[in-house]
Amino acid sequence: MISDDELLLYYYRDGLDAAERARIGAALSEQPELAQRLQALVARLDAAAAMPEVPVPAHTQQRWQAALERAANNADDACRARRSSTGSSHRWLAAAAALRSSRSR
């Protein structure tokens, strides 16, 4: 006797080993009433899972937009800060080189 639990796992192709899958597959091809049981089970699950989609509320979309804008601005600021710190280190290196050459003279 094959249980609904086993039929369910067979339908999902998950959670059964190869031997169990083969046993249930063979039983399904031999027993039309078992195939009907599986069909009815799946139909029941599909019916239960069917839920109407709801639109995303406008205020939620605005919230996401604001969060992404903040993230982009932060990334922009970080980029600018990196550029300016690189620039200042270049200036320091140039100053150090100038100092070295003036001392060597």
Partner: protein
């Protein structure tokens, strides 16, 4: 939506996917959390993670799949955090916990892990319902569900079987069958 993004989002894929798929992510999270605010938070978390890694994605499909998955995991995490917080608060007075448990059990069971009007029948029912949704609608593997819910495959299987058994009973009730 998000027209401002156009100016600085490097891959157009990000903008396109966001416009076309955000409703799907939101609804997936809403089914799992049954809470509009938590669903919105979960999608936002996923969007920010995706934004930070936007250069890693090639093509809209990969980005969509990734955000969808991250949003669902964020939704599960948010429920878990909220549950832990609620339990911590209730720990102060354990009698409150017992009262809540009794009250939850009194709620009549409804859909997959839900009572009428979207209320959880019991915490177990709620998690069974989520396992069912992750398996049947989202098509996650049992081991993926177990990892996300921080449990083992056998517990996931049992939760799935419980949800399906409950569905069978409830559909009979809804249809007026004996």
């Amino acid at each position: 939506m998000l027209t401002l993004l156009k100016s600085w989002v490097q891959p157009d894929a990000f903008q396109t996917v966001l416009n076309e798929r955000s409703g799907r992510w939101y609804n997936a999270c809403l089914r799992i959390t049954r809470d509009a605010d938590l669903a919105a938070d979960a999608v936002q978390e996923a969007l920010l993670k995706a934004w930070n890694r936007r250069d890693d994605f090639r093509g809209e499909a990969a980005l969509d799949t990734w955000i969808h998955r991250i949003a669902l995991n964020a939704a599960i995490d948010l429920i878990r955090r909220r549950k832990t917080r609620a339990e911590d608060e209730l720990d102060v007075d354990s009698s409150c916990c017992r009262a809540l448990g009794r009250a939850r059990k009194r709620i009549r069971p409804g859909g997959p892990g839900q009572g009428p009007g979207g209320r959880d029948a019991t915490p177990d029912d709620a998690w069974s319902g989520r396992v069912f949704l992750l398996k049947h609608i989202e098509g996650w593997r049992l081991d993926e569900i177990a990892e996300s819910l921080q449990t083992n495959i056998n517990s996931v299987k049992n939760a799935l079987f419980r949800a399906v058994r409950k569905l069978r009973v409830d559909l009979h009730v809804w249809r007026g069958e004996s």
